[in-house]
Symmetry: C2
Subunit: 408 residues, 2 copies
């Protein structure tokens, strides 16, 4: 054997297999009641509309068939950029299509943001807990993460001030204000105003990630941060949760001063997002399709959320666990009774027929090992009922010291 | 106006608007005979096969419809990974599907390679000239490019040795051995053996980019570099030139020791390549579709190449210009007579009704300002004849000092 001729970049050392990916493997046992995933329900995918749109785009004599298969502009399809600007307008943000960059899902938006804004050692502020995929997207650019004190409304104003008083100025704070992954929590109107006030006062820009905003079950969430500080917010959105993730379509909305650099990063990364997918989605969503389709997703997920909250209240009552009451999205965040560890409890849970994701990987700083994330969107109410009963049984066993999940 | 709250990463300063993108804008005048683009002919896109494949994937009762729209594995669809391994096997390379990573076009492969292998200041060796898109993909990781002495067969063995004797060891040499963009040249069998020998001797790994290998018009090119040094080559391929670029489907084949890092970089960058596109292409190419389809592309492009070589010989004869005789691909590389500058000649050419790309942006080191690139694949033989006549007229005018393109 000769020695390897390859020498890795320093950043490659920081890139590691996703902890959650490894965890998900053990949860994929056939027949398990799986609340671990972060996938939307495939039942919500608009297969009929996709079929019709593909047929229309590729029809004989279609003027868009060959253009949709050709190289295309790095910025994205004009029709989609216009749709995004109009949609954000409905939510109170003043956006022009020239600020919209179409990406391969919002994950790519995070990658481009990191490339353009992060040097090795740059500080990034994140929520406690925060979206794991964002940590993974930012990590290759080797920033230092600082975890901002957070409560049921997300980062607190005092937590932000505390971080701003120590160390160098952060490049940005990363926030997921609506139905956060993993916690399910939402910034209410008052909190948004407080957070914006602190960020403006300290010239701390924000990266606002909003994949779940349309999935509200009680009332629409407050206006986005973007609407409140247009020049200080990069906004990320996605078609993954309202149409289908397998299309990989998301978008970045950036202040005009930053847009050219994000566009150059996009061009260098993969030239452009698949034009065929963009054309098909533009075809699907014209004539207000989403105004009819999204309410059907909301109705489905609301039933499932209600079933999970009811089952948790029923089965975990009196055990000392607490959990969030999400007003939308896909996730409930549970904190186990004192002394338990979600990671060590997982094998017993899988043994009992259900799976969750331990919360530890979602913390950029000190992990709360008692936490876990449950998705309610891919299981029926009956499955949710059985799953929460199984979870309660392993929690009880662990508390009595007989289960494999005992101890911290 | 308050000051911008954003601070850019150092690498963002190195990212600039593509020179070629700006040039292409002036060539997009309606009615112009455009040889400037790098696009395949849309006439070659298999619209009927795509329509049938989309209909099959999304058919009522299709078992793959909803999975194709769901989140998917970062590695790519097993069927496509198997196809790539088998296809490379036919070309003499021993590859297993586990070495194949499906990417958003091969441009993304270049981005992932840069992330995993390049630190700021790392040396990268490139051909003279080289593919501009690779320079753009690598640049955000801030390497130093060194341009290897090259002739009609690509980099020379002595040029490689010369570069290896000075400075630190390069992280890799980037090569496009078949019908190179921009020059159209090909490494013959003898040159491949010489280059491999030098690289093995000096443990200099190679990134082999092969978007055009299937587009041969006389005989298939020699076996890929990958087949000759499996542990020392990362290989990039693409469906863009044999199916359609608007699908954004390419692939990276990596030695098993490097694969996990590239996979992690892919996962961080955008989770995975669109599963819908992968499923549709798998449906298109099963049953040997490409064995019937690619020969039709070859026949079309061969006619166009022959027309351009004949027109160049006819119209530029005796002017002192020289050009390559590509055995495949999409491009011919012209070197204008001494004293002319392709960039300054371009406005006169556009005025005369034709457009090319000046060669200067394709050089990582000292540019040869006399060079330009012509694409022969999107014009008819009649258009090619008129376009080369127009080119000859502006060259003549510049040589006689009456044209706007005169002077160096």
């Amino acid at each position: 054997m000769t020695q390897s001729p390859w020498q890795l970049a320093a950043r490659a050392e920081t890139m590691n297999p996703s902890a959650i990916r490894e965890i998900l493997k053990i949860t994929e046992r056939p027949g398990i009641l799986n609340f671990a995933g972060g996938l939307p329900s495939p039942e919500t995918f608009p297969v009929d509309a996709m079929r019709a749109a593909c047929a229309a785009v590729l029809a004989e004599g279609s003027a868009v068939a060959r253009p949709s298969l050709q190289y295309a502009a790095s910025e994205g399809l004009p029709e989609l950029r216009q749709w995004v600007a109009a949609e954000l307008g409905r939510q109170g943000a003043r956006v022009v299509p020239e600020q919209v960059l179409i990406t391969n899902g919002s994950q790519q938006g995070l990658d481009l943001v990191a490339k353009v804004l992060l040097d090795a050692g740059s500080r990034v502020l994140v929520e406690t807990p925060t979206y794991l995929g964002a940590l993974q997207a930012f990590t290759p650019m080797q920033p230092r993460f600082d975890s901002v004190d957070s409560d049921d409304g997300g980062v607190t104003a005092s937590g932000l001030r505390e971080q701003l008083q120590k160390g160098e100025r952060p490049r940005f704070v990363y926030l997921l204000p609506n139905f956060q992954n993993p916690s399910g929590r939402t910034q209410d109107e008052a909190r948004r105003q407080q957070v914006i006030a602190v960020c403006r006062e300290h010239a701390l820009p924000m990266v606002e990630d909003n994949p779940y905003g349309e999935l509200w079950y009680d009332q629409p969430p407050p206006a986005p941060l973007l609407a409140r500080w247009p020049e200080g917010v990069i906004y990320l959105g996605s078609f993954s949760k309202i149409l289908a993730p397998g299309l990989r379509l998301g978008y970045v909305v950036a202040p005009p001063s930053l847009y050219p650099k994000l566009l150059q990063a996009k061009q260098a990364a993969d030239l452009h997002t698949a034009g065929f997918n963009q054309r098909v989605v533009a075809e699907v969503i014209r004539d207000g399709f989403l105004d009819r389709h999204v309410p059907t997703i909301r109705a489905r997920y609301k039933t499932q959320r209600d079933a999970m909250l009811a089952a948790l209240a029923h089965h975990l009552d009196g055990l000392g666990a607490v959990w969030t009451q999400p007003a939308g999205g896909m996730f409930i965040w549970v904190r186990l009774p004192e002394g338990l560890n979600a990671q060590t409890l997982l094998p017993a849970a899988v043994e009992a027929g259900m799976a969750f994701v331990p919360g530890a990987p979602f913390f950029a700083g000190q992990s709360d090992v008692r936490t876990l994330r449950l998705s309610f969107v891919t299981s029926t109410p009956a499955q949710i009922e059985r799953g929460m009963a199984a979870l309660a049984s392993v929690v009880r066993a662990a508390m009595s010291g007989t289960g494999s999940g005992s101890g911290a």
